[in-house]
């Protein structure tokens, strides 16, 4: 068997299909590696060994009988702990759900298990996916496997870290304002946020319903394409899942991109962008030009308003979604309260961390009488302006290329006391959530300190194919230059 660190979805499924290994042997090997390597990183919150072994045995018995194997047979994956898994502890990174055993499985996870993948465990994240560094986990922070003194990004830091560390072949995260793409960039892996409505949100613990997306992490663009393919599509359990056909995403990878028009928005290359990140992204853009793309300067004029718009809409939706955590039906209940109202307050005070309380407060304030028009409604109107920016840009170009993050991974603790500085880590990613377009991060180089740098590609609604094809060209060029 090849080294676990280098295994891809493609190579793993091939190894299982060609009987070079068994699913059970893979599961054993990955758990051994997790036990050896994960304690220093802290990416896993819960391992679901019984579930993994049962699934591996199912795959192996199909193989033994000579039956057809499912397309992703035996591929060990990890799931961000905001996606429910029946019979397995599901915490959303919060103490308020410390002992919650999910009664059903999220659609994205169920579909991937039907496709033959094996869920090894649930990954650490910022509490309720609220954060950009994973330091807001209710349990413990995750460390960046590329440099243990740095954050892996957030909120899907654990899911990015397991792929970077090779303690899972691929993983699922969720992206509400950049929570797949930003940690993907920080950890040097590929991370995709599909179009809003492309992947069902059923079983995704809600943070901000109009912004939440499920998205895959992988070592390669081909891997995230394969994962997307097997979880995308209409789900009657999510009324916002689109009734549109799914492409055979992986089959388009490697196709020429000659003649595609790539927009470079000037607002994403201004003040605050680290010079090394800028240089690496510009090198990536040159590679796209070499591949025959037409590079077009564009403007997304309302970009500077995206973060304030996002933090009003996301917190308003969160304050409503998190009202359900009240100590009555599931999760923590603080003892000793004499009245129902007191029980709610004590439970929520004890169960939620600082950032979650801060966002609930901000969102409740923005929705409260007298402030609704000035804040929430205003933000919804600016959201329309941001959407218009993208409509106008996509009338001229096929895709947009930007840095994924303004800087490489920062140090643990560096921004922990300054919420505003932390929010600005999402400056290049939040708009795609507000507008719903697909976005991917793909590694495009490293800083002098050997920290990964990510390049982001944004596409038209439901045009994941273009985003993946372009990302593959960047990936291929980087591999050629570092070979």
């Amino acid at each position: 068997m090849t080294a676990l660190e280098t295994m891809t979805v493609e190579s793993t499924r091939t190894a299982v299909l060609e009987k070079q290994t068994t699913a059970s042997a893979l599961v054993d090997a990955f758990y051994k590696k997790i036990e050896a390597d994960d304690p220093a990183i802290g990416a896993y919150l819960t391992l679901c060994k019984d579930r993994a072994h049962r699934q591996a045995e199912r795959i192996d018995s199909l193989a033994d009988r000579g039956d057809a194997l499912p397309p992703l047979a035996g591929v060990p994956i990890a799931i961000k702990d905001v996606l429910t898994t029946k019979g397995v502890r599901t915490t959303a990174g919060s103490k308020i759900l410390d002992n919650f055993i999910a009664p059903y499985t999220a659609t994205a996870v169920a579909r991937l298990e039907d496709a033959g993948t094996i869920v090894l465990g649930k990954t650490n994240c910022d509490e309720f996916a609220m954060g950009s560094s994973n330091e807001n986990s209710g349990f413990h922070p995750v460390k960046n496997p590329r440099d243990l003194s740095r954050v892996p990004g957030g909120s899907s830091g654990g899911s990015a870290a397991v792929v970077a560390a090779g303690t899972a072949v691929a993983s699922l995260g969720s992206d509400t304002g950049g929570s797949v793409r930003q940690p993907g960039a920080f950890c040097g892996v590929v991370g995709l946020k599909p179009t809003y409505g492309r992947v069902s949100r059923y079983g995704l613990i809600a943070f901000a319903s109009s912004l939440d997306h499920v998205g895959p992490f992988g070592k390669t663009v081909n891997d995230v394409a394969l994962i997307l393919q097997h979880m995308a599509g209409r789900d009657p359990m999510d009324s916002t899942s689109a009734d549109l056909p799914i492409s055979d995403y992986a089959s388009h990878i490697g196709e020429p991109i000659t003649g595609l028009r790539i927009g470079i928005p000037k607002e994403y290359f201004g003040e605050g962008l680290d010079p090394e990140v800028r240089a690496a992204v510009e090198t990536g853009i040159q590679e796209l030009a070499k591949a025959g793309c037409e590079i077009v300067d564009i403007s997304l004029p309302h970009t500077e308003y995206a973060i304030p718009t996002y933090y009003l809409i996301a917190t308003a939706e969160a304050s409503s979604n998190l009202a359900r955590f009240d100590g009555v039906r599931y999760g923590l209940r603080e003892r000793g309260a004499k009245t129902l109202a007191e029980m709610y307050r004590k439970t929520r005070d004890a169960g939620f961390g600082t950032e979650v309380k801060r966002r609930i407060m901000l969102g409740t304030y923005a929705l409260s009488a007298g402030y609704y028009d000035a804040y929430y409604l205003k933000a919804q109107k600016v959201r329309s302006l941001l959407a218009r920016d993208f409509d106008e840009a996509f009338a001229k170009v096929d895709a947009i290329v930007t840095p994924t993050t303004p800087t490489p991974a920062f140090k643990l603790g560096e921004k922990a006391d300054d919420p505003l500085a932390m929010y600005l880590a999402d400056i290049y990613t939040v708009t795609a959530n507000l507008v719903g377009v697909p976005g991917i991060t793909v590694p495009c180089g490293k800083s002098r300190e050997e920290l990964p740098i990510g390049l982001q590609i944004l596409g038209k609604h439901f045009d994941e194919v273009a985003v993946l094809k372009i990302a593959h060209v960047v990936e291929h060029a980087l591999a050629a230059s570092t070979a």
């Binding site: 002992n99 919650f100 055993i101 009664p103 059903y104 809003y196 109009s210 009657p236 009324s239 689109a242 009734d243 549109l244 309302h302 308003y305 973060i307 304030p308 009003l312 304050s319 009202a323 009240d326 100590g327 009555v328 039906r329 599931y330 999760g331 923590l332 309260a337 004499k338 009245t339 129902l340 007191e342 029980m343 709610y344 307050r345 929520r348 005070d349 939620f352 600082t354 309380k357 801060r358 609930i360 407060m361 901000l362 409740t364 304030y365 409260s368 205003k378 933000a379 919804q380 109107k381 600016v382 959201r383 329309s384 302006l385 959407a387 505003l420 507008v435 719903g436 609604h461 439901f462």
Partner: protein, 105 residues
Amino acid sequence: MVSEKDVSYVADLAHLELTAEERVRMLKDLNSILGFIERLNELDTSKVEPMAQVTGRYSTKKDGDAFSYAMRADELRPSLPHQEAMQNAPQTDGTFFKVPKVIER
């Protein structure tokens, strides 16, 4: 500017108690974040429609029919069994969730 009174009022609405220390921090943070958010007022949005969600912007069908795919027949279907729905509850009597007394006699 958010005042201490506003913090208390909003905490009540959100069913949060917050320690004295947390209230001081919250006052500072909310004012800093809202100060940053103020810049939205630079934009004239008097003629702009609010956008609550993105799915209305695209669909295979148009206008009134756009979400017809999301409709289903109004008929009884099995749902989460009672026992499974109760299994995570902090306190039950086997049939109902139990909470501290709501009405004083």
